[in-house]
């Protein structure tokens, strides 16, 4: 509890960031990261509702869903996936750099992370645009005929819900990372103080992992004809 043993300079610096309800820096750190993990679990359940709905509707309308997923743009989708996967590496490198006290490296890799996230959003914007042109926006601008027209519209409903909710998360994540980039550049973090950065990285990974489920569901399954 009290500093009976002489603390190292690092330990003393960590103590300076201690909030009043905690006794130890380690306690504060484990509380913060446990809190983040629980928050991520709730996020999984938010998306879980959408995934469950997708599964139910796909089972009800297999042919319509297959037809609709053939109309997705595999090239753009793969580009988005590549951007997000890479961004998970860059944010980890940034986190490691800050733990080693390399402020410049951390700033660089955090900016890269944000840029890749923005890249994803831009590519996705193109996709939304072409769907608008092709009259594939459910409820708002949808024009399709044929036996599976309704099922295709349902697929588009699911697609907009999944990618829309995911994009909102990514916009939040990008904003957080941009804010942190600024603060890292200003020297707000260091080997004694990086919890916020670690939590942001956890959140970033979650947004990334969720895309790894959305991508095959919307772009890959049922793509092959017959």
């Amino acid at each position: 509890m009290n500093a009976t043993v002489a603390d190292s300079p690092l330990e003393e610096a960590r103590r300076a960031h201690l909030e009043e309800q905690f006794d130890e820096p380690d306690q504060q750190h484990s509380a913060a990261s446990l809190g983040m993990w629980i928050f991520l679990a709730t996020e999984m359940l938010f998306f879980g509702v959408l995934f469950a709905s997708y599964v139910v509707l796909r089972v009800l309308h297999p042919a319509g869903f297959a037809e609709a997923s053939r109309e997705t743009d595999l090239l753009l989708g793969s580009g988005e996936t590549a951007a997000l996967l890479t961004s998970s590496i860059t944010i980890v490198v940034a986190l490691r750099a800050i733990k080693l006290g390399q402020r410049g490296v951390a700033t660089l890799f955090l900016s890269l992370t944000a840029a890749l996230g923005i890249g994803f959003l831009v590519i996705h914007g193109f996709e939304y645009h072409s769907e608008w042109e092709e009259h594939l926006v459910p409820g708002v601008r949808f024009l399709k005929f044929g036996p599976h027209a309704h099922a295709v519209e349902l697929f588009e409903v699911m697609s907009y819900l999944l990618t829309g909710w995911h994009s909102i998360h990514l916009i939040i994540a990008v904003s957080v990372v941009l804010g942190l980039t600024w603060r890292v550049w200003r020297g707000a973090f260091g080997p004694d103080h990086f919890t916020t950065l670690e939590l942001a990285a956890l959140y970033w990974h979650l947004v990334d992992i969720i895309w790894m489920f959305i991508f095959p569901l919307l772009y890959l399954i049922g793509r092959a004809p017959g």
Partner: protein
């Protein structure tokens, strides 16, 4: 004659000179921007009580309507009254009541911590709660909602012309308050326990809060997302529940009950923990089967997630699915029964003191037993086919939630009132209110079992003439119930000014909260508390 009847037990008062958490910033700002879990608990108590009064007023309208078979109120007014009653009571009173008030106040003190792990998030949760409540009140202001608290599709998405958006936004926002409270409690229990406070020394109330927090964190997002889908479907005109596109309205029911059945356990789990505290104190005995009490709470939390289908036996479900859901629902009764057995075994050969909190707790055990057993009847598909959507269901869940959870909440309020306010209330009035509540509750809701068994359907503003007698009795009981809810408000407020000063440990209880002064100082303890085994009633209080 026990020490309580004789007056106040003389006790050492090592910390009675410490300034309480009420001193310090006394301004409104000091309260609205506080991070002290004790002050936030009091903010919550005031708001929860306000919502209870609103929901109670709607209940009064329902009972007024049902005095005559033709119904005293127009249909639309009645529909809006029961919807408002359900929405407010479920999300703004029953679910939050015990965790955010008593839980918020006691959890850190019971584990010997200075505060919750995230005090700012705790305050933020309160603002979310108030914000969500404002939307629901706005929905009422704008003319009300008529979907029922369950928001079933496609009525809520395609047909209802009432203020569904406002109500949904209100519940959605409050959902985040619930999620953050649960998150805060879990992290606090894991990381903030004082040295020596091991998991198996935790008071059962803390275990109850822990179990309920897990359910809150895992179930509430599902509700929030599902209601968001309903809202979006109303905006855009197409959605996953839209049957005209081939969407699935039943999917809504699955998702809704995946949340709402665990939500029932969110209401009862903290009450179970609380009852253990009170019963153990006023029998001066250890809780019988402590470990089984903890495991059974966790078992209820886990199995509670797998029983939602029993709400949908008549909605179109395969026979096999119904059998599995029925079996799992029977299974969840086992840990609940273990708890009833253990409370009874704690009472056996105990030195029982019939104080007001004890009367509430004993009332809880009895009413919960009746509510739980009728739950088994409803979990059997063949019987449910017959009783579904009748007043039998209404009586069942009111026995569990109102008879169980609310009785226990009031028991807890009385038990810790001296700790929170530093004042003693009138024991005689409190006992009278507790007995009146038990009687009034049974007079109100037991006739509803009979009504349901004879086939009176729920959610109609009129009924067949042969049901009138029992309905009038039920409304009469509601009047008694209303009096018994008003009484504590009056004498507890009275005690704030005129009540005797409370010592640190007026009930001769164990538990760390009784080792600090009444009311506690801002840091909760001036000297680090010494945790021992829970419920060490065979040893003298420290």
């Amino acid at each position: 004659m026990s020490a309580i009847d004789a007056g106040i037990v003389p006790q050492p008062k090592p910390e009675s000179l410490a300034p309480s958490f009420y001193s310090g910033k006394r301004s409104l700002r000091g309260w609205l921007f506080t991070r002290d879990h004790k002050r936030i608990a009091i903010l919550y108590t005031l708001s929860v009580t306000l919502f209870f009064l609103l929901g109670g007023a709607a209940a009064a309208m329902i009972r007024y309507d049902l005095i005559v078979p033709s119904g005293e109120l127009p249909t639309e007014v009645y529909n809006k009254a029961f919807t408002f009653h359900g929405v407010v009571m479920v999300w703004f009173f029953l679910l939050p009541s015990i965790p955010v008030t008593l839980g918020n106040f006691l959890l850190p003190i019971m584990i010997g911590a200075k505060d919750l792990a995230f005090p700012r998030i705790n305050l933020f949760s309160w603002y979310l709660f108030i914000g969500g409540g404002a939307f629901v009140v706005a929905a009422l202001w704008a003319g009300g909602v008529d979907t029922g608290w369950t928001f079933y599709t496609p009525y809520s998405t395609m047909f209802s012309n009432t203020n569904v958006y406002l109500a949904i936004i209100g519940v959605f926002v409050t959902g985040f308050s619930t999620i953050f409270t649960g998150l805060n409690f879990i992290v606090t229990t894991h990381t903030m326990r004082t040295p020596g406070m091991t998991w198996m020394r935790l008071p059962l109330f803390v275990w109850g809060l822990y179990a309920v927090s897990v359910v809150m964190v895992l179930a509430t997002p599902v509700l929030a997302m599902t209601l968001a889908l309903v809202g979006l479907e109303r905006v855009v005109g197409v959605g996953v529940f839209d049957p005209s596109l081939g969407g699935d309205p039943l999917l809504f029911q699955h998702l809704f009950w995946f949340y709402s059945h665990p939500a029932v356990y969110m209401m009862i789990l903290p009450a179970m923990g609380l009852a253990s505290e009170i019963i153990s104190c006023f029998t001066s005995r250890r809780v019988f089967g402590y470990k089984f009490m903890t495991y059974s709470m966790l078992a209820i939390a886990v199995i509670g997630f797998m029983v939602w289908g029993h709400h949908m036996f008549v909605s179109g479900m395969s026979v096999y699915a119904a059998m599995v859901f029925s079996l799992l629902s029977f299974l969840v009764a086992v840990p609940s029964a273990i708890k009833i057995f253990n409370w009874t075994a704690t009472l056996r050969k105990g030195d029982i003191r019939f104080t007001a909190p004890m009367l509430y707790a004993l009332g809880f055990v009895g009413l919960f037993l009746l509510g739980g057993l009728t739950g088994l009847i409803l979990a059997a598909p063949a019987l449910d086919e017959f009783l579904h959507d009748t007043y039998f269901v209404i009586a069942h869940f009111h026995y569990v939630m109102v008879g169980g959870s609310v009785m226990c909440y009031l028991g807890g309020i009385h038990f810790w009132w001296p700790k929170v306010t530093g004042r003693m209330y009138s024991e005689r009035l409190a006992k009278f209110a507790a007995v009146l509540m038990f009687v009034g509750f049974n007079v109100t809701f037991f006739p509803q079992y009979l009504l349901g068994y004879r086939g009176m359907p729920r959610r109609y503003h009129s009924y067949l003439p042969q049901f009138q007698e029992l309905n009038v009795i039920s409304t009469g009981g509601a009047v008694l119930l209303a009096i018994s809810y008003t009484l504590p408000v009056l004498y507890l407020l009275w005690s704030l000014k005129y009540g005797k000063k409370a010592p640190p440990n007026p009930w001769d209880a164990r538990g760390l909260e009784w080792q600090t002064s009444s009311p506690p100082p801002k840091e909760n303890f001036l000297h680090p508390p010494v945790p021992r085994e829970a419920y060490a009633y065979d040893k003298p209080a420290p």
